[in-house]
């Protein structure tokens, strides 16, 4: 039996090596730490699942593909068509994401009030993408009403108000359950504080409505407080969600990292994106223990409207910056830096801007400008 199992065991170990990049590194030198210079032979291309989505999705993901090609980034995309009115995400797409572990996605439009449950939420639940991260910051050269904005909104992505558990009690009375668990609240709090620690952020703010929803949001706050005690170097405070919105529109510079449950996170992320320059420029991603899906940060307007599609004037900046985050996640920081610098250069010049930033360019013109700015 040992003779028969030995080759199988060898194959198992070899294949598990190939599927993680830690395995890749260990093939060359298990003790060498990651440096920020691309090593020869280390840039073996990574597969990334690409879901163009609905509306302006195909336009902006096409833009990302063009820029990746121009940069010779070591990623290749596996395209899958998914549309918002499908009943569930097709099996082959899920298998692909589970294999590649990284996905880049355009917006999926959920029909309002129809019997179809949101595919975005389904994707998040199945892959257990428990943290959604949106980074809202002032881009140099882009005039906005608020200055000095640099907020990261970390939002719990799997439970809370979006559990989808609704039923009609009697005709005319409908109930919806908001479920909060200690497990998920702890998970997201740990992620938020770890993110703040690793990225040198000074303050974490928990957003809640525990004066009204005492048990549910109280549980969330308890978990945050517990985790906060493990990070004495990071300041922690709590703010009620309506006060938070008011402060965001008057004094956004007081916020740094915000950790929120599901619904409030959605609102706060969109508000913060709006004050910092619009949803067309904010990057974001959904992260789980094993998988990551990158998409335009704020969820408002990520499908666009018919006019934007026809005139091809959608803003690709958000998805470009998200793909830079993805490159960093895939451990290609040099490519990520190049891409971000190019995009920021194009925005600060101000010559090529789409309609939502006050310009008149089309998507293609912005892409060309970014490719030209790559150096």
């Amino acid at each position: 039996m040992a003779r028969r199992t030995a080759p199988i065991l060898k194959q198992l170990f070899q294949s598990s090596d190939k599927s993680t990049h830690l395995g890749l590194l260990s093939r060359f030198d298990p003790k060498r730490s990651v440096t920020y210079m691309p090593r020869p032979g280390d840039g073996s291309p990574r597969a990334v699942t690409l879901i163009p989505g609905d509306g302006i999705g195909p336009l902006v993901t096409g833009a990302v593909q063009q820029v990746m090609d121009a940069m010779h980034a070591p990623v290749f995309f596996e395209r899958y068509e998914v549309h918002g009115d499908m009943k569930k995400v097709p099996e082959e797409v899920m298998d692909s994401i589970k294999k590649t572990k990284v996905c880049l996605k355009g917006g999926l439009m959920t029909p309002v009030g129809g019997g179809v449950s949101s595919l975005n939420v389904q994707l998040r639940k199945e892959l257990d993408l428990y943290a959604s991260l949106v980074n809202c910051f002032n881009l140099p050269g882009l005039p906005t009403r608020h200055e000095n904005v640099d907020i990261v909104v970390i939002r719990e992505n799997t439970e809370g108000e979006y559990s989808g558990l609704e039923h009609e009690v009697v005709p005319g009375v409908v109930e919806s359950l908001k479920v909060m668990t200690k497990f998920c609240s702890e998970r997201i709090a740990k992620y938020a504080f770890e993110y703040a620690y690793l990225n040198n952020r000074k303050k974490v703010t928990a957003v809640h409505k525990a004066n009204i929803m005492k048990l549910a949001d109280g549980l969330f706050l308890e978990s945050c407080r517990e985790v906060a005690t493990n990070y004495p170097g990071i300041k922690y405070n709590e703010i009620i969600v309506d006060n938070c919105c008011m402060q965001l529109v008057s004094k956004p510079e007081q916020f740094d990292v915000m950790v929120t449950p599901n619904l409030y996170g959605n609102l706060i992320a969109n508000t913060a994106a709006g004050i910092a320059g619009g949803t067309g420029v904010m990057p974001g991603g959904n992260v789980g223990a094993d998988h990551a899906v990158f998409e335009q940060g704020a969820s408002a307007g990520n499908v666009g409207n018919l006019k934007l599609m026809e005139q091809k004037k959608a803003n690709p900046v958000a998805l470009l910056l998200s793909s830079a985050m993805m490159l960093r996640h895939l451990q290609f920081p040099s490519f990520a830096d190049r891409l971000e610098t190019a995009v920021k250069c194009v925005i600060s010049e101000g010559k090529c801007r789409t309609k939502d930033l006050g310009g008149q360019s089309t998507t293609q013109e912005v892409v060309d400008a970014v490719i030209a700015a790559l150096d």
Partner: protein, 379 residues
């Protein structure tokens, strides 16, 4: 309930000299036909209207005095009936508000409430909750407009938020399923949604607004917000001259902070309403300048100041009475005293626009009494 009606009718007959004649209508309207209920009380002639005034705590008495003074200078035909929060719990209402206070609001139909600090402790309901439940205040109306002369980052805000006030996420029904798992119920009923949608469209019509937007998250919470939207659509069909649209809440938040001029009247369920109305208050300059009015069954209107009682500046003549004054103006609009309301409103706006008399929170150095006097001079 029959005895209550009888008592009210007898009382209203006895007080006929003081009450405006239409006051028997709201009560009978409620009893006999739910569709005929008047959504606003009308003031007729030169009879004095009785209104209940709750000065509240902290800076409450000072700003209430301010309001009384301005109304006296403007010769508004209102007679105030003051009620104070009691010192001990009234067993009939289970809170510090006495049964008499609540009865007086029910009888008069209008009220003005200053900031109240709920005393900490158990065994009683919060004051706001008591008022809401006992008076059945189903809609919270907050007009938000930029005050010319007080510069904020947004200068073109002119919108009204109407928020359903009784159900939704704030039902308070929570329980722990097992250790570490908590459920909270969000309840939406057809009746409450229809009620608030009716009020929203009625308000839009009577105030000359041409668009109503319903804010929802029905792509995720399909049945609950779907029901709310269905009710709004039903009511929209009855008002074909008013444009109706539906906006998802994350879109709404984003559009509000980028371009608040896109919205006119917003109608929403409880939680979204709370967040959006405070967001809009932030756009125009904060809670110290925001009026608010709660509408109840039978045409009751309770205008209130939404800011806190600011115990640190109580008694020092430093408080800003603008929020309570603007709320009182909303109350006058509800009473259909539009010309008086407009006069006082213009006086307030002009005083702030001039910039000579401003209280400390607006960046000036005037005291409450100086500010009030300036408004009276502007009338």
């Amino acid at each position: 309930m029959a005895s209550q009606i009888a008592r009210r009718v007898l009382r209203s007959r006895a007080n006929e000299i003081f009450l405006a004649p239409s006051f028997s209508n709201p009560n009978s309207g409620r009893v006999f036909s739910s569709f005929d209920r008047s959504l606003s009380s009308a003031a007729v002639g030169s009879d004095l209207i009785r209104a209940t005034l709750f000065p509240g705590d902290g800076i409450g008495p000072e700003i209430a005095e301010s309001v009384k003074q301005v109304f006296r200078s403007a010769e508004v035909p209102i007679e105030w009936e003051e009620h104070y929060v009691g010192q001990e719990i009234d067993p009939r209402t289970q809170s510090f508000l006495t049964w008499e206070s609540l009865e007086s609001v029910r009888q008069n139909g209008v009220g003005l409430k200053g900031p109240m600090a709920t005393p900490i402790g158990k065994g009683h309901r919060s004051l706001n909750l008591t008022l809401r439940k006992e008076l059945n205040l189903y809609a919270n109306v907050r007009p938000c407009y930029s005050l010319p002369g007080y510069k904020t980052r947004y200068d073109d805000v002119n919108l009204i938020t109407i928020r359903e006030n009784t159900e939704g996420e704030y039902s308070g029904l929570e329980h722990q399923v097992v250790r570490g798992v908590v459920e909270s119920l969000k309840i939406i009923t057809r009746q409450a949604s229809l009620r608030v949608a009716e009020y929203a469209f009625h308000y839009a019509k009577t105030h000359g607004r041409d668009r109503v937007s319903a804010i929802h998250k029905a792509n995720i919470m399909q049945k609950t917000d779907g029901l709310f939207l269905k009710c709004c659509r039903e009511v929209a069909e009855k008002y074909p001259e008013i444009k109706y649209e539906e906006v998802v809440i994350d879109n709404c938040c984003m559009m509000l902070v980028k371009n608040p001029a896109l919205f006119d009247v917003l109608v929403m369920p409880n939680l979204y309403g709370d967040i959006i109305s405070d967001l809009c208050a932030g756009l125009v300059g904060g809670l110290g300048l925001t009026p608010s009015c709660n509408i109840g069954e039978g045409g009751i209107a309770l205008a209130e100041a939404v800011h806190g009682s600011a115990p640190d500046i109580a008694g020092k003549n430093l408080a800003n009475p603008t929020a309570l004054l603007l709320s009182a103006v909303t109350m006058l609009h509800h009473l259909k005293l539009h010309d008086k309301a407009d006069r006082i409103h213009d006086a307030i706006v002009n005083t702030i626009a001039e910039g000579k008399y401003r209280t400390a929170d607006l960046g000036g150095t005037s005291s409450t009494t100086d500010f009030t006097k300036a408004i009276c001079d502007h009338l």
